[in-house]
């Protein structure tokens, strides 16, 4: 029964997501296509954060940094007339991985509140850097004149094609994420979260594993940043705002940290709710806040805990 639900829910979710472009076309509501695509991009970002937050126990309060780095990698290349998508996205992933390596190498040496503050501080630095570079629009950001070009493969100006690309990347990220957390590597980062002293005592030094996880998470989030800037066709330092990092954390916690799919549920719940409430009242944040507090208090394992059965 439980294992059946476990098999049915993701399949049903996938069918629903795949049907969105059709439904949006039938209802003549292209807005929904746009909304769900945006949510899926954030779901990829939240999923990447969950690798380190949920599975690794590293409370990174600066994950939006990699959304920003990925977005700027695409935006800056485009600014200089380089529109090749492969190059742009490779740079988005590579630069995010490098930034994560630098930030992780320092912050993972600390723990607890210090870790939270250091990851936040680094992200704020990048945020202010974004604001200060006039060449790239400073505070205002800049338009992405031309979307990433993948000649012969896909045209991102085709809303449906772009949608399915994002969906495919999300599914791939879910699949690879599951492989990762079940692998030897995944077992070590989960173990280090569960009981660091025990983990050291059996012979693992957690640092290199944590750092590798941090870099992988940053790289995947960088890809989400590349998607996001193509989605909005606009780039601003706000991508790296600390409130963004907070939102990503919320998606993870709301969705559930103990499963790979949890943050995806969290992203959908948070952003759909945000959308519905903001259409209803301009004081929507006053409603959203308490709802989030309640969900944290009463859904110990997040939305995923409602949907999926617990192991054992």
């Amino acid at each position: 029964m439980n294992s059946r639900i476990r098999a049915i829910v993701p399949a049903a979710g996938l069918v629903l997501l795949a049907a969105v472009p059709l439904a949006a076309a039938l209802l003549d509501q292209p807005f929904y296509l746009d909304l769900v695509r945006r949510i899926m991009i954030f779901a990829i970002a939240a999923l990447s954060l969950n690798l380190i937050l949920g599975y690794g126990g590293m409370i990174s309060f600066g994950h939006a940094a990699y959304l920003g780095v990925g977005a700027y990698a695409v935006g800056v290349l485009a600014h200089y007339g380089i529109n090749d998508g492969y190059l742009q996205w490779a740079l988005a992933i590579g630069a995010s991985a490098l930034v994560a390596l630098a930030i992780g190498a320092i912050s993972i040496r600390t723990s607890g509140v210090y870790f939270i503050m250091i990851t936040l501080a680094f992200t704020q630095m990048l945020y202010y850097l974004g604001i200060s570079i006039e060449e790239y629009g400073g505070d205002d950001g800049m338009r992405l004149q031309v979307k990433s070009q993948f000649p012969g493969l896909i045209d991102l100006n085709d809303a449906n094609a772009f949608y399915y690309l994002v969906l495919a990347i999300l599914v791939l990220a879910l699949f690879l994420g599951q492989r990762l957390v079940d692998s030897r590597f995944g077992m070590v980062i989960r173990a280090a979260k569960s009981n660091e002293v025990r983990t050291r005592s059996i012979g693992f030094s957690p640092y290199p594993y944590r750092l590798a996880a941090f870099v992988i998470a940053g790289a995947v989030c960088g890809l989400a940043g590349a998607l996001l800037v193509n989605h909005t066709a606009y780039l601003t330092p706000e991508f790296m705002n600390w409130t963004r990092s907070g939102e990503l954390m919320f998606m993870v916690i709301l969705g559930g940290m103990e499963s790979i799919a949890g943050p995806v549920l969290g992203a959908f719940a948070l952003l759909l709710l945000e959308d519905a409430l903001s259409g209803w009242t301009q004081h929507w944040q006053l409603v959203l806040g308490p709802l989030l507090v309640l969900s944290v208090l009463f859904l110990k394992r997040g939305l995923a805990g409602l949907v999926f059965a617990k192991n054992e």
Binding site: M187, R198, S201, Y209
Partner: protein
Amino acid sequence: MNRTLLEVRGLRKSFGALLASDDVDLEVLEGETHAIIGPNGAGKTTLISQLAGNLFPDRGRVLFAGEDITALSAPARARRGFARSFQITSIYPDFTALENVMLAVQAHSGSSFRFWRPAREEPSLRSAASAILEEVGLGGRSGVLAANLAHGEQRALEIATALATRPRLLLLDEPVAGMGVEETQRMIALLSFLKGGKTLILVEHDMDAVFSLADRISVLVYGRIIATGAPEEIRANPEVRRAYLGEEVAA
């Protein structure tokens, strides 16, 4: 049997004004079971922690198989053959018993920078871990979450985890602490089964366990080793009786 495996020289550790290890010298022979006894707060756990690399001494040296390991971290010592159990059970509560042990096997069998294949599907990890769970009497409990095991079972699981690293030296900090009579008997049986094949350092308050298992005993009082010797020598040592053993031995 008479080669020195572990040698401790002039180990000193203070916490503020408190001297928890006061020039400790200790020699542990290959294959022996060496018990460390002493009253509460004598510094037994502090000593074990310095041996395992969880805590670093202010002064003194630790030599393992002739190598100076004083500056090595706990993981580095674990890779050289140290394994420890903690006074307060230290396991992965949210992993199953089998996963707890498999992880320890994994730590000593090849690289863990492997990202693709599910670890739980590696037959070599599974079979090695299952065999060890069998050995400590948890064969039927392998699928149970460690958090849901009984206290005695959790202690046995911790020993299994230590064994899974195929250690040369096993450091056990009060393995029967908090156990009922029956559980204690079972743990003593397990330890006497292990003993001989392995070198053991056993910290224990339970004198039945100590005198039935130990080849030699060191007595630690206020951070100092006041005597080391065979069980009957320790039993007869007047200083030891005065400082610590008195009541229990007389009873």
